[in-house]
Symmetry: C2
Subunit: 515 residues, 2 copies
Amino acid sequence: MASLAVNQKSGEIIGITATKEENFPLWYQEVVVKAGMVEYYSEIAGLFVLRPLTMFIWSELRKWFQSHLDEMDIGEAAFPLFLSAKSLAKEQDHIEGFAPELAWVTRAGEKNLEVPVAIRPTSEAIMYPYFSKWIRSHRDLPLRLNQWNSVVRWETKQTTPFLRTREFLWQEGHTAHLTEEQAGIEVLEILELYAKLYEDILAVPVVRGRKTENERFAGGYYTMTLEGYIPSNGRGIQGATSHCLGQNFSKMFDISVEDPAGSGRIYAWQNSWAFSTRVIGVMVMIHGDNKGLVLPPRVAQTQVVMIPVGINKKTSTEDKDRLLDQLYDMRKTLRKAGIRVDVDTREGYTPAWKFNDWEMKGVPLRIEFGPKDASKDVVSYAIRHNNDKGTIRISELAPEATKLLDQIQKDMYDNASLAYSQHRKIITKWDEVIPALDSKNVLLIPFCLDGKCEDRIKQLTTKEDDAGDLGTASMGMKSLCIPLEQPGEIEKGQKCLNPECEKLAQKWTLFGRSY
Amino acid sequence: MASLAVNQKSGEIIGITATKEENFPLWYQEVVVKAGMVEYYSEIAGLFVLRPLTMFIWSELRKWFQSHLDEMDIGEAAFPLFLSAKSLAKEQDHIEGFAPELAWVTRAGEKNLEVPVAIRPTSEAIMYPYFSKWIRSHRDLPLRLNQWNSVVRWETKQTTPFLRTREFLWQEGHTAHLTEEQAGIEVLEILELYAKLYEDILAVPVVRGRKTENERFAGGYYTMTLEGYIPSNGRGIQGATSHCLGQNFSKMFDISVEDPAGSGRIYAWQNSWAFSTRVIGVMVMIHGDNKGLVLPPRVAQTQVVMIPVGINKKTSTEDKDRLLDQLYDMRKTLRKAGIRVDVDTREGYTPAWKFNDWEMKGVPLRIEFGPKDASKDVVSYAIRHNNDKGTIRISELAPEATKLLDQIQKDMYDNASLAYSQHRKIITKWDEVIPALDSKNVLLIPFCLDGKCEDRIKQLTTKEDDAGDLGTASMGMKSLCIPLEQPGEIEKGQKCLNPECEKLAQKWTLFGRSY
């Protein structure tokens, strides 16, 4: 049963009413709205307002990632929002992938445009004509640019805050290299940065891998990916992707140089890579609980909230003022130590109401301070994610709070990592597939890597009794990735798991029901 | 005559061919393209690609401004790109101001949208329904949000990089306050931040003032503004604006609270304020010269470029290597001191060619180092903006370079400030207006503040012989602002300058030909 808080003024239920176990989609919607992360945009379906709690997280991720781009000497750019049908059409696989979701501007003011223009769903077709212009000699390589912007994909499927929205914020990096090897090194370097962003900052475990042919980027050569896992429904979720585009786009857009070794022209090897506000949704799904949001300290706008307690009608103004002064002193101490801390001095709310409110908003560490604590020169604390409680001597507040926040960050990651590793099952018998999926696992299976076989596996694992339903229980499984870290060698003569498939298995491949 | 550099490989002229004096618009276009700030977007007119040199500047400005927003506890938000006609229509003056430039999305994929949606030209109509939702009590005030994004205004007039473009980057702050006074304090606080951004970072002098009724923001209450000045053509240019919207929008969008003093409902007092990539264009126009871009050190991605000189065919490999090693050592020293420095070791280009290239790109300080310098333990330097030259002892390189960069920043501001103050003429005789405009001045005139009189002044100062021409010479003058710092009291009985106007002057008002 979810924890319910009632607004003392309006009587309105302000807590989370759905539970993560019983109605995960509704729980998620409630958490992101009630914690103050997003609003549903009432004007137009599929769009969301990102509030300061969300934008603080995004801004922290952006700063961290940008600092690495700076180290790598990757320049920042801003290309236009629009592209014409002409440039989009240059790469046929690419346009086919995006055409159904393009938003078209056909009118400006009262006038129809002579040629309609599309809003970027991604910027390959906008940027690469300039790559062609700027890259004249091998000395111009590598050319590496990144931009932070929003893209529009007019989804026709059900939208979900952060995970599937008609506009989202992201960074998109686009680079060109002289050799496949140089491009390949960067693909993995970026993948590792994305992995660190998930693991070290969002406390979210991910599996690094390569997409199968069926799942790679439209028009690309190969796609590296991070795959996450949502324990509540056992679904896999794509975290971020780093694509090697090969020479496909460079041939279409004529991005080429004289071979410095002197044997004609070489088309550049290109990459593109992106992470989006989706990462925030993954974090919420993994760490949130029935009280609401749970934020890892590194992205919590408020890491510590201090709440005065034990004040009642009998407390003298003097005693109350002294208590508050002490709280402000402690706030100063904590801020000096680099901790983001607030004191909740709102009048007219009980401490219990405030506890619920800050729990819903996911603040990692709560500090309570009342006359009893004061008399012992301590503060009491409660940890959001595991409800651990204890006291800290005031004289040791800053170092102890710092230590606790570090520990919280680590514990949150460790817990999620344990849940993920316990639910990656090695499956070598076809009969075990559906039961394993139904037990909320993702599966490592021996797989032939053939695209048609992959399609067939999806069909075979889709439950027919309620096919067409979008519920997780009936969903077929698809490949998530070929993990870089294989659980072992594929044994000699090992067949593909699909009972209808005669081919040999090539790789352990992660399959699952998925977002 | 402009300085011409010829590409030694292609023979192509790579320098600036137009001069600032003879053809200012062409000069400007050449500088922003050839220095590598922008590309004209070939797909769609009026759009531009912003390259790393530009985005470095924007990113520095953004970081600086964001740090002040953080101090002021102004939250970051991201509202959707789109708005419906319905919400736009709520504020009639506002929609009339923007309707002719709205870009309309009418189609997604192959399907027409049931209701077309417009791309934001600014976000009042997108954000304020949420202000209404979030502001329930006076305790929710002030509500202060800022977002960094791009907006689209489908200009039908001639576009110019940075100054008038169909999409531009900006920040837009939107806030709601309980009282007019509180709103008013913020309007000025933000105006002062914008002024510092211009003066301290971009080395661009501005006049702080208030817009006349004719020139204030559509739907607003009053507009505070910074007005810059382009010496080359004597035109004024709006720098950034901070608007008090009064209660106009709060009445339309129902943003109201119970009066804490108990006398019914109070509509919130709102502000909105923005600065855009336009600031970069102003900076280029003011500081650039016939060799190209001139960057103030604070926004120069490369503050110092080091160029090896005096190496020729007779120089031994050993001597050359020693010279380069010394340059790399100095680069390390300078980087340690926080200076952004590069060494230009490109092969196949003469030092003179490199000098021209870096001058075109606006690098504030060039350091040359050759065998002669090495023998004296010095480096030679040349300052971009005034061509001053000298030497620095290698042992004092970091502190001396730091000092020089500080001095350059200051001198560039002082020069521009002097030019502006010399061209703000106090005019009290109507006959002197046109000659003063023709001498590239902006004018401080005694003015009645009446909107119709202002329109008439524009008519009276537009030269009829070539009316309709867009050239500066024929352009009428309009009000730029009512400067906060008045040149003195308006004398008793002083009439408005317009000879047809019978009213008394109210304020010294800055008029000029303008962008």
